[in-house]
């Protein structure tokens, strides 16, 4: 097992597309790091740079203490699980698992010693002589995983390995992966576009956008203290509500006045550290749907909103509200299922100040220095 370092790695493709810009990332020995972002953000490229399937335009890649920048994938001793599984269709499950070991000229005994336990762990013992075409999706996924496990490599790389599974199997396999990581204590790098997968699996999560690393932090810190508006909007579901406006001094504290909406509220001075320059280009206020308070009696100190849609999802319900504009989903709240809300009724909205995130509008950077807790 080994740590992996991406040292100012950039990758530009011949067609001019820049998939990675000065990527600086250190993955500790035994860490489960998730790379997440929308499609085209460069997360797969980052993984392929570690794998050696792409060579960086500049920068270095280190695995263990070794500089592997110029080494082909064969010499890097890392294993990869592909989104398509990429099982060898003409080989049986056993042959698929053993392929990497055979290439390394291991003896038959050694191969068996490694393949059998892995097949056992993954529940593949009964299908060892089948070809991939005769396996279920879940089994194929396990074979792909097994092929990486038997190798006992320095690190495991996963490229959206769960995206071809149905919802139930995906959640099961996700838990299994987490257990596997705990058990092996291996360095794992995992790429996904699904923020929920990223949050549940990662020791730390790296959010990428347009080839740029936005933030790398433990999942809950990403959730509580996103460094910019992009991360704030990407992590968490339903996504954070954003309102454009301006901050003004108001007595000892601040007042946020919405530009296109009636959102207007006083914020305590502690929210922004003293002396923090007032942003000129405007401010974006963000609040997560579960933090929004709705008062069906409409008598609270907040401002009014019209309930446009209520989506019950069991223990909670997702409420879409219109503020004074036309957008029927200008504000989304997640409230307990017990709260009785009529569609088309008017409710009072309150934003608890401690749950508020403030971003500079022009570049989306976070304004608060302290976590909003």
């Amino acid at each position: 097992m080994a740590r992996i370092v991406l040292d100012r790695v950039s990758k530009a493709y011949p067609n001019g597309h820049i998939a990675s810009r000065d990527l600086e990332l250190e993955i500790a020995d035994g860490e489960f790091l998730v790379l997440v972002g929308p499609s085209g953000c460069g997360k797969s490229t980052a993984l392929r740079l570690i794998a050696g399937l792409e060579t960086p335009t500049s920068g270095r890649v280190l695995i263990g203490e070794r500089d592997v920048t110029g080494l082909p994938p064969q010499d890097r001793d890392v294993a990869m699980v592909f989104q398509s599984y990429a099982l060898y269709p003409h080989m049986t499950v056993r042959e698929n698992l053993a392929f990497g070991l055979r290439i390394r000229k291991m003896t038959r005994d050694e191969i068996d010693r490694r393949v059998e336990p892995v097949a056992g762990i993954l529940g593949l013992a009964s299908v060892m002589d089948r070809k991939p075409a005769h396996l279920s999706g879940g089994q194929r996924q396990r074979v792909a995983l097994g092929r990486a496990l038997v190798r006992e490599p320095q690190a495991f790389l996963f490229d959206e390995p769960l995206s071809n599974l149905d919802a139930k199997l995906r959640i099961e396999t996700r838990a299994e992966l987490a257990r596997l990581h705990k058990r092996l204590g291996a360095t794992m790098v995992y790429v996904t576009h699904d923020q929920e997968e990223a949050m549940t699996l990662g020791d730390r999560v790296a959010v990428l956008k347009d080839g740029l690393l936005q933030q790398v932090a433990p999942p809950m810190e990403l959730y509580r203290r996103p460094v910019n508006r992009f991360v704030a909007g990407f992590i968490g579901s339903p996504a954070m509500n954003f309102f454009e406006g301006a901050l003004e001094r108001s007595g000892t504290g601040w007042r946020f006045c919405g530009r296109d909406s009636s959102v207007s509220l006083a914020l305590p001075a502690e929210l922004l550290p003293a002396g923090e320059a007032r942003p000129d280009g405007g401010t974006t206020l963000g609040i997560r749907p579960p933090d929004v308070r709705l008062d069906p009696t409409g008598r609270s100190s907040g401002w009014p909103a019209r309930v446009s849609v209520v989506e019950p999802i069991g223990s909670t319900q997702i409420v879409h509200c219109a503020l004074d504009g036309d957008d029927p989903s200008a504000l989304i709240a997640v409230v307990p299922a017990e709260l009785h809300l009529e569609e088309d009724s008017t409710v009072g909205v309150e934003f608890p100040p401690e749950a508020i995130h403030l971003f500079r509008s022009e570049d989306g950077a976070r304004l608060q220095a302290r976590p909003a807790e």
Binding site: A51, L53, V78, S84, A86, L87, F99, I103, A133, R147
Partner: protein, 273 residues
């Protein structure tokens, strides 16, 4: 397909099969009919079956000699073409290098020359090399048209194979060569089989080069031998047709034996992880 269009489709299919198979059937019937009755009122059924033409073919004309020659020439050409062509095709399909499309275009351009236009230069070259009337003297020129065909077909097959498979093999530690031999080639077998058969058929049927570059019966291939059956005063139609039937047999057998593979090859994309 709805129940109303079905009989129509079956009828069309039957007509097509009849149109393709009838000439062959006609040849078989004629080859079994005595020379004397061949030009009387034709009959769909052989009125009297004789094997004289086939016997004459082997007893008097030593027809096994051109068959052997054809097998050697077509077989070796096919083996060379598929072996060398698969490397070339893999390289073109998968490696990134300068002038890739130019090379592929050039390979195609080679097949555009009418055969007749290169017979004379080829003859001179082969004579200079002392290869006239030898097997290599046929195999080498055959490669000029068989190789482009092989490469073109195989490039298509290799391109269809998912890139992930190759990368998975790299990650498993396999070198390019190991990946090619142990992963890509086995997956391309349907393609190799299809290509091989098509190449074989082309070479088996080739006439112009075979006529031009051989001198005597010891190196003549089947089509040439059949064409030369024609005597000064008569055309032995019975024997010619018997020979034609025999010449068709191995090709038909090949296609039937590999039918499944060919269909697989033509409908490829069946290669899924």
């Amino acid at each position: 397909m709805s129940s109303r269009t079905r009989p129509l489709a079956v009828g069309a299919l039957g007509l097509l099969v009849a149109a393709i198979a009838f000439p062959f059937y006609w040849a078989v019937v004629a080859s079994l009919t005595p020379e004397a009755t061949l030009f009387r009122a034709p009959s769909l059924w052989p009125r009297e079956i004789i094997f004289d033409h086939y016997r004459a073919l082997f007893d008097e004309r030593a027809f096994w000699l051109p068959i052997r020659n054809s097998l050697i020439v077509a077989g070796l050409t096919t083996i060379f073409c598929v072996a060398v062509g698969s490397f070339a095709a893999y390289a073109i399909a998968r490696l990134r290098f300068r002038g890739q499309s130019a090379i592929l275009g050039f390979i195609l351009a080679v097949t555009m020359f009418p055969q007749i236009s290169i017979v004379s230069p080829l003859y001179l070259m082969l004579r200079a090399l002392g290869l006239i009337n030898t097997f290599p003297g046929l195999i080498l020129p055959y490669m000029t048209f068989a190789m482009p065909l092989t490469v073109w077909l195989l490039v298509g097959f290799f391109r269809q194979l998912p890139r992930d498979l190759e990368e998975a093999a790299f990650m498993d530690g396999a070198s390019r060569w190991q990946t090619f031999v142990r992963v890509m080639l086995p997956l391309a077998t349907p393609g190799l089989a299809t290509t091989g058969i098509l190449t074989f058929i082309y070479c088996w049927n080739e006439f112009l080069f075979a006529l031009s570059f051989t001198l005597g019966p010891e190196r003549q291939t089947v089509p040439v031998a059949i064409a030369l059956f024609r005597g000064q005063y008569q055309v032995p139609w019975g024997e010619i047709l018997a020979a034609a039937v025999i010449a068709t047999a191995p090709v038909a057998a090949l296609v039937l034996a590999f039918q499944r593979r060919i269909v697989q090859g033509l409908t490829a994309g069946a290669v899924k992880g």
